[in-house]
């Protein structure tokens, strides 16, 4: 077994996901199977391989210089707040933060 129920509980906490007992067990089983499959990567010796942190090289993406840090107006605040579940312009209102 690669992943325990406790592992799933801990990860769900990190990811702020409320999971039911059924979900916990189902995901545990399914992720266990997936991690088993993923284990095949251990067949490869990657001790001398660099991780592929970027897809494109610098010369394929970067302009020659950084852009100037110029402020431009963004008039979308009103439209953005309209999307909020509980707006009180100019704020997003949320439930009280309670000490854990």
């Amino acid at each position: 077994m690669k992943i325990s129920r406790e592992d799933v509980v801990r990860v769900a906490e990190l990811a702020y996901l409320d999971l039911s007992a059924d979900e916990l067990e189902n995901y545990r089983k399914q992720i266990d199977e997936i991690l088993e499959y993923i284990g095949k990567l251990d067949e490869l010796d990657t001790s001398n391989v660099e991780p592929m942190a970027q897809v494109l090289t610098d010369d394929q993406t970067a302009d020659a210089t950084l852009r100037e840090d110029v402020e431009v107006p963004c008039g979308l605040a009103g439209e953005i707040l309209k999307q909020a579940p509980d707006p009180e312009p100019p704020y997003f209102r949320v439930p009280k933060v309670i000490e854990r």
Binding site: A15, Y16, E23, L44, P51, M52, T61, A84, P85
Partner: protein, 479 residues
């Protein structure tokens, strides 16, 4: 009124005053009313915007001036792509009524070229899936066989083109999500190289893998769409500064003498016999067209799915952290901020999304990062190297797009890993950053479409399009 419109056909008909852009929009909305209830391919329609754009195009036609490349073309946009004023749900409850305040760059460019946006298409939730069965808004049916899946995650975008409910569409591809539904629905579908098309406005799933790309009934339309949407965007730092060639001119160039690699690893077990036969027939077409077929090895192919599901889920767990009920989307009430986060995300996300967030968080977590995420990044380098080495010997790589034709709804939903394995031929190119296209390559028993995939080197979209176009012109779709 023609049944089968193409982008060029629309523009020519408008210029010849055979039809108006407004009439065309009306025709497509009639078709959508008739067929969408069965297919469930569109999630939202945008008639106000469509008719306003159509009127602009009609006014331009009236001036007699030359029309832009997509003038009047009725287009559909996958619902993970931001469209100002039009709901963008990502196929999820958590963004049920989300209306973006801006357009994605790709959408802006299409409209600037005259395209008419009809609406937003259904997709797997947050682009996670290979069958469009993970949508919170119900599955999409394959127009070729309505008891079967259209593929995913861009199932809606593929279905609308296949069913004549749009002339072309935009989809997104992270591990195969443009190419595979294109194959299963029997249409042309392309992803350019990573960085070829701006991701600005694409609601992120996996930032090092996501790409926006076109689906259409023919390769020329794909080339036209790519022409319009490709190119540097200062709003996307990962978009390339490499210039955009004239794809429409490039696709007619001859392909005789081009070397096509056939990688042994893509033709082993796991491929449906019907698919195998059609791809073999497709290979014969390239031989007849004068290409040289060369056997090649891509030794890390079998590790691609494992690599993909580490990297993509890790990136997804980060990208989906923003859905917390604070600024947009759904909110589930909680008695504290953290409780609100947990309940919102627990109830707003569907099972596949939650599963991937859990897996992605796990592979990034302390104690497991090296064994999984770092390892995955290293194997990704090896997979990319397989492609670089192959392209020192060949000009393009030919593979099946999907190991199986469209499967029945519900057939693969019980076992997530089974569903993931549907991506075995597509994820490799996603990881390597190279461009890929799927073109129709026959139908099994005259019914189930098969797709043939061509990979090119990074920024080799022109070559990929040439090869696809020649295949289509040689009637490859009828093998």
């Amino acid at each position: 009124m023609t049944a089968n419109w193409t982008i060029d056909g629309v523009r020519e008909a408008l210029a010849a005053r055979k039809v108006s852009a407004r009439e065309l929009v009306g025709e497509f909305y009639r078709r959508i009313t008739a067929r969408n209830p069965e297919l469930n391919a569109y999630l939202a329609l945008s008639p106000e915007r469509a008719y306003a754009q159509a009127d602009k195009v009609d006014a331009l036609v009236a001036t007699g001036r030359p029309l832009p490349p997509l003038a009047g073309a009725p287009i559909a946009i996958k619902d993970v792509i931001s469209t100002r004023g039009i709901t963008t749900t990502c196929g999820s409850r958590i963004l049920q009524n989300y209306v973006p305040p801006y357009d994605a760059t790709a959408v802006e460019r299409l409209e600037a070229a005259g395209a008419v946006m009809l609406g937003k298409t259904n997709c797997d939730e947050f682009a996670m899936g290979s069958s469009n069965e993970n949508s919170a808004y119900g599955p999409v049916k394959n127009p070729a066989a309505p008891d079967r899946v259209p593929g995913g995650s861009s199932g809606g975008s593929a279905a609308v083109v296949a069913a004549g409910l749009a002339v072309a569409s935009l989809g997104t591809d992270t591990g195969g999500s443009i190419r595979q539904p294109g194959a299963l629905c029997g249409i042309a579908a392309m992803m350019g190289s990573y960085g070829r098309v701006s991701r600005y406005g694409l609601i992120a799933f996996a930032s090092s893998l996501d790409r926006i790309g076109p689906l259409a009934t023919n390769v020329r339309d794909i080339a036209t769409m790519m022409q319009v949407i490709a190119g540097r965007d200062t709003n996307d730092a990962t978009s390339t500064t490499a210039p955009v060639p004239d794809y429409r001119a490039e696709i007619d160039k001859p392909i005789k003498g081009l070397r096509i690699g056939i990688p042994k690893e893509y033709f082993g077990v796991g491929m449906d016999e019907g698919v195998r036969k059609k791809i073999a027939a497709g290979i014969e077409i390239y031989k007849k067209l004068g290409c040289t077929l060369i056997d090649i090895r891509m030794p890390h192919t079998d590790y691609a799915i494992a690599t993909y599901y580490i990297i993509a889920t890790a990136e997804a767990s980060s990208n989906l952290a923003r859905y917390d009920g604070v600024r947009y989307g759904m909110r589930a009430e909680g008695d504290s901020l953290l409780s609100m986060y947990r309940k919102t995300r627990g109830s707003g996300f569907g099972p596949e999304v939650k599963r991937r967030i859990v897996l992605g968080t796990y592979v990034l977590s302390a104690g497991y990062y090296d064994a999984y995420y770092l390892k995955g990044q290293k194997v990704r380098s090896l997979i990319a190297q397989d492609f670089r080495e192959a392209f020192t010997k060949v000009d393009a790589i030919l593979t099946p797009t999907s190991p199986v034709p469209a499967f029945r709804l519900g057939e693969r939903t019980a076992d997530p890993l089974q569903m993931y394995l549907a991506d075995i031929y597509t994820v490799t190119g996603s990881l390597a950053g190279v461009p890929g296209i799927s073109v129709p390559c026959g139908k099994i028993d005259g019914k189930l479409p098969v797709g043939l995939q061509i990979f090119g080197p990074t920024f080799g979209e022109a070559r990929v399009l040439q090869l696809a176009h020649a295949f289509e012109q040689a009637d490859g779709a009828s093998v």
